[in-house]
Amino acid sequence: MGRYIVQRFLWMFIVLFVISMITFAMMHAVPGGPFTQEKALPPEIIANLEKRYHLNEPYWKQYLLYIDNVMVPHISKDAAPEMVDEALVEISLPGGNYLRWINFGPSYSSRSRTVNDIFREQLPVSIQLGVISMVVAITIGLPLGVISALKQNTIWDFLGMSVAIFGVSMPVVAMGPILIWIFGVALKWLPPTGWGAKPPFTLFFIPNTLGSWDFWKHTLMPAFAVGTGYSAIIARLTRASLLQVIHEDYIRTARAKGLSERIVTTRHALRNALIPVVTILGPMFAGVLTGLFVVEQVFGIPGMGKYFITSITNRDYPVIMGAILMYAFFLVISNVFVDITYAWLDPRIRYD
């Protein structure tokens, strides 16, 4: 298992390399550039800006420069480097030297910030929302699917699946404002917008207000708005999977042993039925994370979504690269996590 995980991480580097190349190529293939604006800037200024960000260099050199900045640790003397050189990891070495590593570069459109700033301040908020949305999706979806399957073709099944269909067909743009209107405006139970956690975060993304109502009162509505749609997918898959498992021979064996229906379901059927459900959780988490833009807009959450979307329209190359690599990184991580869960659920799967 340990070896497998190491292997997966090595693979991840290769995958991220390939993704970075493809993204870089596609990004530059699209017409327009970061400084192309409706009101054209004077050519001298553009030339200056391009020089500053090395955009006048040949593409291969720009790419290598980028990889060098992100991947290769640099040691330098000065304590307060210019902002373009700001790094995610900064360790002071003896003799007044600094080791700097992982520099995703500046943001072209918001000049006062770097991509690392966005990763430190916005990305964690999106991850918090994404994780909580997934938890909501699972806690609603799993029981709903199990009940529907066990009470197949009864009113419960019908109700459960109606909720599921409602969940899938209700987009966040509709669900969000409805929730805001009910709980934020009419009942005044929850604040309609905002977020209850500020940087710095523990371990990159854990909010320091995690234990307080201040955090959760901002989280419930958006997480619910995102989670219900995904819970519907989980519910339907759980139902289908459990209905299939319940007809397996080993379930009959379990019943022939004299076990109660409750134990047959929880101990013998559910674990088998969860195997396909777990498989989709990895890609689903990636989908949740990259799709947070809308909900972040609706609820005024200072997440990553806005930066990602506007970076593309603004041709803000470093933000595009950084965001896509980060999303890819989380996709791979969540798939490794899924593989580990998978092996834990199904003893036939062994990675060695």
Binding site: H247, E248, D249, Y250, R252, T253, A254, R255, A256, K257, G258, L259, S260, R267, H268, R271, N272, L345, D346, P347, R348
Partner: protein, 332 residues
């Protein structure tokens, strides 16, 4: 000797989109304590549905036990509340299934799956159940049983899995063990081992056995009495020796004719029952074997013949049974 099991007019049907499947059509038979009863019949004749009905393990829907009584130790199982039925399953009546490859839960260890029944019915704690499980697995011939308790089913071969199933079935000292074609999915040498194992365990533990098969050869050395099923009916019932010596139902004669015999001599031809098994949806009135029968008469297509006693313990359901008197199966 008292009857351990008395089945009266058992009738089970499946209500499917294509119509009602009449899988078991009002069959009656008995089983004495410690006796071994064989049930034979070709695929689809209702053997599995018959025994699953006894355990009330018919998937509902689409299946339903529409009539009959199953007296086990004098108590009608069909009338028991479900929680009392569960106390009988696994403890008093245990079952081994046709498909060893899929009958064990792939995500639970062998040990756990056997222990489960012990904890449930015998109230053993984990430690005692584990020890007993190791004993049982040794008893059914699994080498290094203690080391294999934490293995998963996929680490066992088909024959080994069937041994585990047998251990599971024996775990709570049942009065009746139902083995539904336990060897069909296994290769011939393993088949013989499993048959020998059950024979030996029966001698040791003295439980009654219902052994289902479509192989008359297996039954000969194992069972005392045989029931021949066809189209959801019992066609013939007799002591094993009697059935081999004086089969009376045309279907039984056909079945025995398709069995290789050592004493048949050179040049004797194997025959098989001609035609196709019946479609149990829209089963016609009359005997379901009539379309394939060499002795078919007037009444056969109109009414199902009753199962009538023609000798001590020998019952046949056939209108034309006079015609088959004195027939030898391989003399066709």
């Amino acid at each position: 000797m008292t009857n351990l099991l008395e089945v009266r007019g058992l009738k089970t049907q499946f209500f499917t989109q294509n119509g009602i499947v009449r899988a078991v059509n009002g069959i009656s038979y008995t089983l004495k304590e410690g006796e071994c009863l064989g049930i034979v019949g070709e695929s689809g004749s209702g053997k599995s549905v018959n025994v699953l009905s006894l355990m009330r393990l018919i998937p509902t829907p689409p299946g339903k036990i529409v009539g009959g009584e199953v007296l086990f130790k004098g108590e009608d199982l069909m009338l028991l509340p479900m929680d009392e039925m569960r106390r009988i399953r696994g403890a008093e009546i245990a079952m081994i299934f046709q498909e060893p490859m899929t009958s064990l839960n792939p995500v639970l260890t062998i040990g756990f799956q056997v222990e489960e029944a012990l904890k449930l019915h015998k109230g053993m704690d984990s430690k005692a159940a584990r020890e007993r499980t190791a004993e049982l697995l040794t008893l059914v011939g699994i080498p290094n049983a203690i080391e294999r308790l934490d293995d998963y089913p996929h680490q066992f071969s088909g024959g080994m899995r069937q041994r585990v199933m047998i251990a599971m079935g024996l775990s709570c000292d049942p009065a009746l063990l139902i083995a539904d074609e336990p060897t069909t999915a296994l290769d011939v040498t393993i088949q013989a081992q499993i048959v020998d194992l059950v024979k030996e365990l029966r001698k040791k533990l003295g439980m009654a056995v219902i052994w289902i098969t479509h192989d008359l050869g297996v039954i000969a050395g194992l069972a005392e009495r045989v029931i021949v099923m066809y189209g959801g009916y019992i066609m013939e019932e007799a002591l094993v020796k009697e059935l081999y010596a004086r089969p009376r139902h045309p279907y039984t004669i056909g079945l025995l004719g398709s069995l290789p015999r050592l004493d048949a001599g050179e040049g004797a031809k194997l025959t098989s029952v001609r035609g196709q098994p019946p479609n149990l949806v829209n089963l016609p009135d009359g005997c379901p074997f009539a379309p394939r029968c060499d002795f078919v008469g007037e009444r056969c297509t109109q009414k199902m013949p009753p199962l009538e006693e023609i000798g001590p313990g020998h019952r046949v359901a056939c209108w034309e049974k006079e015609k088959t008197e004195g027939m030898k199966p391989h003399a066709r």
